[in-house]
């Protein structure tokens, strides 16, 4: 089987620029040539047109349709990318967000012309507050990382408002996403890492030693990036709060507990949600995401702007005049409004019962897949633990034995028709695959994935070269990343 899969597709795509012919155009899209710019002083005008492609409408449609076919996507493949929650993005959410009246809404006239839209946003705020157990929500942040920025800026604003200026350090577990320390730095904090114990939980002793009057807060993902629930969460909460710090919840893994366990009940003061994960808005090839923040009562006044308020039956955007303690806006307008609409539709389709089942079946799928892979001969990073919605396989010993790395296994999975799990994250676990199946995959799909992984394990023992040179069936083979970084080619030039 390995030999036939090693056959390669010869096709490769031209750039749209290489399809260009001087004088060709998508004529139906061109306005009349008659408009005059003669009232613009000549020193302001462009002297040479930008070198954009000159192509027909069919050229464009065919080119980008064909490019789309050079992608793996949830709609075409199982996509077990750990920590990214690649679950089915319901088409109804997209259809609703693309209703013409929503698309036509001007962001500077929402109070006057967008009541139907604002009603959805207000209800989304309420639903997100309820499901996280927090007092208030702002939909403003445009991605998880911006939600983090907002949340940590709120922590700083809270301490500053109390005159507690000595708190200059943010604690981050060493297993955390890289965004956590990067965000803390952007908020002017220094970062101290807290180590993880051998069982995957935060080392409580190390935490207790690290906290003090300099502690602004702790950023924590729970379940953690190691795919396990922090069993000591109640003690962590006591330690940080007793030291006067605040607790930030990174909602990256909220899918694991949605509708079952609330971050508010764990004692978190502020959090962000990744709507493109937990609320199934599309990842779009890398954005747009959306990262609303939710806050406990004592931090609500610092939430970023705008938020949506209601007076009687009328909704309106609240700004700095209404919320003088806010950390301010994070975008020019209403954040990722269209993404928020999709999340609203998704939340309404789920309802409470559906939300709870998200957590249940994400957890069931992860634990089933973990069990089956262990039975197939894969080594688990935390075999003594339950999986949350994801889990880690380590290929350290496989690599020592056969030379086959986590990267090789990931690439070979592409040949077998699966997107690869997250590789080499978290950094703590050598040669790791972080695998998140999500609740929308069936047992039969998971079984096919296990069978593919079993094949790969067999190939590692019998034909490791096939793995090291994988993938073999994708439009291109492994790319020279060193060349890409050294001989930068970031734009086509004639």
């Amino acid at each position: 089987m390995a030999a036939s899969a090693c056959a390669r597709s010869p096709e490769f795509a031209l750039l749209i620029f290489e399809l260009s012919q001087p004088g060709r155009a998508a004529a139906a899209q061109l306005p009349d040539a008659g408009a005059s710019a003669s009232s613009i002083p000549p020193e302001h005008l462009r002297s040479e047109p930008p070198d954009l492609p000159q192509v027909s409408e069919l050229d464009v449609v065919r080119h980008y349709t064909r490019l789309s076919q050079r992608n793996y996507a949830i709609d075409t493949q199982f996509y077990p990318l750990g920590s990214c929650t690649m679950k089915y993005n319901p088409r109804a959410c997209n259809a609703a967000a693309l209703l013409e009246p929503f698309l036509a809404l001007h962001p500077q006239a929402l109070d006057e012309t967008g009541q139907g839209f604002l009603a959805c946003m207000y209800e989304l705020q309420e639903m997100l507050a309820a499901i996280t157990g927090m007092a208030g929500v702002s939909l403003a942040p445009m991605a998880g990382a911006q939600g983090e920025l907002a949340g940590v800026a709120m922590i700083r604003a809270y301490h500053d408002a109390r005159g507690d200026a000595a708190r200059r350090e943010i604690l981050v577990p060493d297993a955390a996403h890289g965004t956590n320390p990067a965000t803390a730095t952007m908020c002017g904090y220094t970062v101290r890492e807290i180590r993880t114990g051998p069982d995957g939980d935060v080392d409580i002793g190390a935490l207790a030693q690290a906290v003090g009057p300099h502690t602004a807060g702790l950023m924590l993902t729970n379940p953690s990036t190691l795919g396990v629930f922090e069993r000591g969460i109640e003690e962590i909460e006591r330690i940080v709060h007793a030291a006067g710090g605040l607790l930030y919840y990174d909602g990256a893994n909220l899918n694991a507990i949605l509708g079952r366990i609330r971050p508010g009940d764990m004692g978190f003061d502020v959090l962000h949600l990744n709507l493109h994960k937990t609320f199934s808005t599309p990842h779009g090839g890398g954005g747009p995401g959306a990262g609303p923040v939710a806050a406990a009562e004592h931090l609500v006044s610092f939430l970023p702007l705008p938020t949506v308020g209601r007076a009687g039956e009328a909704y309106r955007l609240l700004g700095a005049d209404d919320c003088p303690r806010s950390i301010g806006p994070l975008s020019a307008h209403m954040g990722q409004a269209g993404v928020l609409l999709r999340a609203y539709v998704y939340a309404r389709m789920l309802g409470s019962e559906g939300a709870r089942r998200v957590a249940d079946f994400a957890t069931l799928n992860a634990n089933y897949l973990m069990t089956e892979l262990r039975n197939a001969g894969f080594e688990l990073a935390y075999p003594q633990r339950r999986a949350s919605h994801e889990f880690i396989v380590t290929l350290k010993r496989l690599k020592e034995r056969t030379g086959v790395s986590a990267m090789d296994v990931a690439k070979r999975l592409l040949d077998k028709g699966f997107y690869a799990p997250t590789t080499y994250f978290p950094l703590l676990v050598p040669e790791c695959l972080l695998i998140e199946p999500t609740e929308t995959e069936s047992m039969q799909t998971l079984d096919r994935f296990v069978a593919a992984m079993q094949d790969i394990l067999h190939e590692a023992e019998t034909d490791p070269q096939c793995l090291k040179s994988a993938p073999h069936t994708t439009p291109v083979r492994r790319l020279d990343e060193v060349k890409a970084a050294r001989e930068l080619d970031l734009a086509w030039r004639r």
Binding site: L15, P31, A33, A35, R46, P49, P50, L52, V60, Y64, L67, R70, A73, D75, M86, L105, P107, Q108, A109, I131, M142, A145, Q146, G178, T185, M186, G188, R231, I233, E234, R262, S280, P282, G284, G285, G286, G287, G289, G328, S331, A332, H333, A337, R348, M349, S352, R356, T363, T371, A420, T440, E441, M443, P475, R478, L479, D480, A485, L490, A491
Partner: protein, 464 residues
Amino acid sequence: MPFIPHTEADIRAMLASIGVDSIDALFSEVPQRLRAGDHGGLPPGMPEADIMRLMRSRAGACEPYRNFIGAGAYEHHIPAAVWQIATRGEFYSSYTPYQAEASQGTLQVLYEYQSMMTALTALDVTNASLYDGASALAEAVLMAVRAHKSSRRVLMPASVHPAYRRTVRTIVRNQGIELIDVAYDPERGHVDTASLDRLENDDIAALVVPQPNFFGVLEPVDRLTDWAHAHGALALALVNPLAIALLKPPGKWGANGADIAVGDGQPLGIPLSAGGPYYGFMACRKDLVRQMPGRVVGRTVDLDGKPGFTLTLQAREQHIRRSKATSNICTNQGLMVTASTIHMALLGAEGLRRTAAECHAGLMHLLGNLSAVPGVKRRFSGPVFHEAVLDCAAPVEDLLRALRAQGILGGLGLKRHYPELATGLLVCVTETKNECDLLELAGQVLRIMGEGRTSAAAERTIAH
């Protein structure tokens, strides 16, 4: 239950494999107190037919208007092909191209986007996009400070979009960066260059140069760029990407060109959509590329020497550098950029230039019509692109309300953002407005202003 495919038989088989008797048992590591109770808090779930009915009714509560508001979000024609292709599942439901071999579609689109954006801005390199124009400006400010090394002071003209200025403040405020206001010339409506020369401390990291500025007025970009460079500062262009298909691009400003250009890509194929999602673009000189935040796609070759695309320069990014990263940003606006790339390919340089010219001509036409209306005059004398500030003798909010009653969004009142421009109305014309629309707006303004001021006789005159 929606989107969960498991049959009862599947569930039994899976639990048996795991060796537990219920799904609840899988949560055994969670402290009991946290597992208690029903934590949903959502209304009952709805099937697709019901939610679509609800959403159509919510959409119906958003009435259509003839829109003359710009202020950072512009109504333009978007070819039908743009979003039909962008929402193909292969684009819509893929993610960050970490596995480049399985993501060549997304990566090539991003490379083509970068190529188009460098051509448009006439700068060397761009990233694969940021969240929106305002946050891109914030990232540019941070980047300029990193690149400059000695100064943390950035000049921020009052003619920059007020929401952009506020956003920048939110994002950079905790990093010890000083944002210094620069006044606008009250007659011409662009940066008061004399006030720049009066600055005492000239240790400046960057000067932000908007083109066109928030008032629609064209800034003296050559002079401002050269001023920045003469004072050892970076020139940081903030541009409307459609406008620069017609106007001089940032890379050609002054003697040496702007150093960094940012803006909001919305005018290039993104619907107004209540304010988002849009995307921010960022372009810069080649020697600044390692200070640039965000994802970047490069062209390289595969094992067989065949061309292919991959994320590159990742050593700047948070997943590698953690607390020392150039930014915490770890995404771009992939889907919006996909749409925008298709849009730019369809319009081409000529289509974009004609669109920009038509916007400008439409505005000039409207201003001509309005010049006949008593009590309305242009506030600033500087040349404009497709927006202008009107000075109105009647209270602006009353005028706008009366226009809304006629199905017209007449512009943005400036009082909230600029108390000294309380009588100012920022009005925008794009190619979506034809001559009838322009006449209608001018006629309604004439009628309403007349009602406010004089007699029914005037109204009868205007009715013709």
